[in-house]
């Protein structure tokens, strides 16, 4: 351990401190708030890039703080953490710009941005966690910091959604903690970077290990929206669009599935998990979630709820990739973490644009909207086609690797699941795109304000940037700097250990 | 030998100069004495084998602080003069009003 682990603390502080300061700002200090927000986001991104530079050169960053003898709070920077942390930082920057434009007239902005910054600190803390206890601490903090954002609007609907959210996530948190406590009692501290943690107790405690696995996966599965623990996600869509975009499509669900990756790969290790027979039920459950999510999405008319069900379905791709016990599938799952995040955030940004500019919340109101907002709908279409898995967009790359991995792991039935889900995705995305571009307007919209852009530039620019990223990441997936290359690096390091 | 003599002169002069700064009644004279105190102090730093500090003392202690003191002194005297003029005008007005 060396002293350079202080960089990780700086990374956490770079959004924690602005968040705490923003809480104390009066409502109308718009400029200071914007400067703090954007300054914090840019600082965090540059510090994370510095960390990646260091990891690339082979330096090792670790921060260790002893809570009480035997248990440490550990922050660690390995390629997987760097992947998740970079994704969070980049998307946070874009969503901050989006949120500043979205909430321009709303009350309680200081409160919102304060909690927003806290959320992103905690998410990066989850990414950088080095043992399961640290992960648990930040995981619970994520629940606490996202709750005020869900109920931000204060309407009865929002409060009810918040209550459901708390029930689900606190219940999951309790299960998670029970699992962590049990496992720690069995084997001691649960470091992510130590191999063979559970080998001493495999023979004697098979049943315990299975039960612990169920508890742990159940605990993180709430946030990862596995069936049947997904009920909070569609309801949480009452939150403002930036919250839905970043948190419930990217940060919270990705934190959940990141937990699954850590538990299966680093705590249990793939060999042990398949030896205990835990991976097959997991792949069944995730496949069920994929199909269920897509099927429910077909029946929704509210745009954000349809996107929420689509998230439930897509995030389970990642878990499916992990549970297939083959490096190719794991690569597909890992890279889908990045790709799905970017595609989903594009879709949510566009949905927010439509809601803010034209008051559209339902898909039936979207006929012909592309004539009025062509750029937004172009971004939406790219995101939707990427979700379906059309080459050369980003979604295709991850589905391809998932399919390859399924074949290599002799689990051909997964291909059927993938094809079915792709068809269902097409069934619920393509009509939206078609009606938007090719139908004529049926629903009355407010008249267009004088101005060159179809929506506020702060709402338009992030969605265009993320749509562009979807395109580029798919096209250049083979280059050295793409998320695909990164996932390959992570899997190579894993298989070498 | 020469250096010991030099140190001796410095040791005597510095406290005397310090006392003179405090004891004079004219502020301007005090500021001038303070600047010369700073210059001698930087010589003392040189004798203590700290040339960096001597440079800084000469530039900041004697130069910048001296200029700051003189500038502040001037602004103080101007504002005092201004106040005295105002007081005199007010007194004149009061006397005029009483006469009326």
């Amino acid at each position: 351990m060396n002293q350079s682990g202080n960089l990780l603390i700086f990374i956490l502080l770079s959004s924690l401190l602005p968040g705490l300061i923003i809480f104390s700002l009066p409502e109308k200090s718009h400029r200071i708030r914007t400067i703090l927000n954007l300054g914090g986001a840019l600082t965090k991104l540059s510090l994370i890039l510095l960390m990646i530079l260091g990891i690339y050169q082979g330096f090792y960053y670790e921060f260790r703080w002893t809570l009480f003898p035997g248990t440490d709070l550990v922050l660690n920077a390995d390629p997987l953490s760097a992947l998740f942390a970079t994704l969070s930082a980049v998307l946070w920057l874009l969503t901050t710009i989006y949120a500043i434009g979205y909430l321009e007239q709303s009350p309680n902005r200081s409160r919102f941005f304060g909690y927003f910054s806290l959320c992103v600190s905690v998410t990066v803390g989850i990414a950088l966690a080095g043992n399961l206890l640290t992960f648990l601490i930040f995981y619970e903090m994520l629940t606490l910091t996202t709750y005020p954002l869900v109920i931000h609007r204060g309407t009865p609907e929002a409060m009810a959604a918040g209550r459901v959210y708390l029930c689900y996530t606190l219940g999951g948190g309790a299960a998670f903690m029970a699992g962590v406590a049990w496992l720690t009692a069995l084997v001691g501290p649960l470091n992510f970077h130590v191999d063979g943690l559970l080998l001493p107790v495999v023979e004697t405690h098979r049943v315990s290990l299975t039960l612990i696995f169920i508890l742990l996966i159940g605990g993180v599965g709430v946030k990862a929206a596995l069936f049947p623990l997904h009920g909070w996600l569609p309801r949480a869509m009452v939150a403002p669009a930036p919250v839905s975009a970043l948190l419930h499509a990217v940060a919270v669900v990705k934190a959940g599935v990141f937990g699954i990756i850590r538990i299966v790969h680093d705590i249990y290790s793939i060999d042990l998990a398949s030896q205990l027979g835990l991976l097959f039920p997991l792949s069944l459950l995730t496949s069920l979630t994929i199909l269920y999510g897509s099927w429910r999405a077909l029946q929704e008319d509210d745009l954000k709820r349809r996107l929420a069900y689509s998230t439930i379905s897509q995030v389970s791709y990642i878990a499916l990739g992990i549970s297939l016990a083959h490096p190719l599938a794991a690569m597909g799952g890992l890279v889908h973490l990045v790709h799905q995040g970017i595609m989903k955030i594009t879709l949510f940004f566009c949905a927010g644009n439509l809601a803010e500019t034209l008051g559209i919340h339902r898909i039936s109101e979207m006929n012909g909207v592309a004539r009025r907002m062509p750029l937004t709908m172009a971004a939406f279409s790219i995101g939707a086609l990427g979700m379906i898995g059309l080459p050369p967009l980003a979604g295709f790359v991850s589905k391809w690797y998932l399919g390859l991995g399924a074949l290599a792991a002799d689990q051909g039935w997964v291909i059927v699941i993938l094809i079915t889900s792709t068809l269902l995705n097409a069934l619920y995305f393509l009509p939206i795109v078609h009606h938007a571009w090719f139908s004529s307007q049926e629903h009355p919209w407010p008249t267009r304000k004088a101005g060159k852009l179809e929506a506020h530039w702060m709402l338009l620019l992030p969605s265009l940037i993320t749509a562009f990223l979807v395109l580029i990441i798919g096209l250049l997936a083979n280059s050295e700097m793409s998320p695909m290359a990164w996932a390959r690096l992570i899997m190579n390091k894993e298989s070498l250990q | 030998m020469i250096l010991i003599l030099f140190d001796f002169v410095l040791i005597i002069t510095l406290p005397l100069l310090g006392w003179a700064v405090l004891a004079t009644e004219d502020i301007f004279k005090a500021v001038v004495l303070f600047v010369s105190f700073g210059l001698l102090m930087s010589l003392a730093w040189v004798r203590l084998n700290a040339p960096d500090v001597a440079l800084a003392e000469a530039a900041i202690g004697a130069g910048v602080t001296g200029a700051l003191f003189l500038s502040a002194l001037n602004k103080l005297e101007r504002s005092v003069k201004h106040e005295r003029r105002i007081n005199r005008d007010e007194e004149k007005e009061a006397i005029n009003e009483r006469e009326i």
């Binding site: 060396n2 002293q3 350079s4 202080n6 960089l7 700086f10 510090l47 510095l50 960390m51 530079l53 260091g54 050169q57 330096f59 960053y61 | 700064v21 405090l22 004891a23 009644e25 502020i27 005090a30 303070f34 040339p51 960096d52 001597a54 440079l55 800084a56 530039a59 900041i60 130069g63 910048v64 602080t65 200029a67 700051l68 500038s71 001037n74 602004k75 101007r78």
Partner: protein, 264 residues
Amino acid sequence: MNGGLTGMKKRKQSMKGKFKRKDWQFATLTSLLIATLVTFLCWAILKEPPGEDLTAEALAPLFVQSGVTSPVTAILLNFRGYDTLLEVMVLFLAGLGIWSQATVDPTNPLVFSSPATHPTKPNFHGPGPELILATLVRILIPLMVLVAGYLTWAGGFQAGGAFQGGALLGGAGILLILAEPQRISTIPPALIRFGIVLGPAIFLLVGVSCFGYGGNFLQYPQPGAGSWLLLIEFGAAISIGITLTTLFVGGRPDPKRLKGTDQP
């Protein structure tokens, strides 16, 4: 020391020739305390020599690693770099404090008149003191800037460094303002702000980028430490010079008086 002296001066002014008994008591008590302190300090210094591992010979190998040959600069910027960062920040805060307290009319920053601003003063035939001042300034200021740059660079191997070069730059700035005060109005305030911020900003940036080389905050990478130190020193020198000049001027440029001033 300065504050104490100024305070004592004011007190002396207000009590001309009225030494009461309690003043003598106060004076004796203070002298006794100071004498005790001085005696104690002398005894402490003379009793314990510095430890074996703090002599210059023992520390010599460490100085080689520091990237500069002057031990003062090595300690100031490398071994105790964090303290120097805090000092630079303190100066920055002082500049901020002055800026937030007062505004200064940039066309007439010094309230008193100097020969350059009132060239119409009679009593002199032929070239007067303003010509001497102007010529002196024209010769001296570039020279001062040059020497300040040399001092900052020479801090790596002899007496000098950022604070010394910065003090000289500050002196140059003060001389400029005394000679041609209206010149301040031609400098855009944004440039002055940039100059004040430059030193702390470079220091912080260098400190953070040390993480990218596997070290802690301000733990310079070994082979190239000297160039990092030089970068920090130059930024700090510029910043110190501009901050000292700002402290002398005494406030930020009044935005109302800044528009459309002519060149002198």
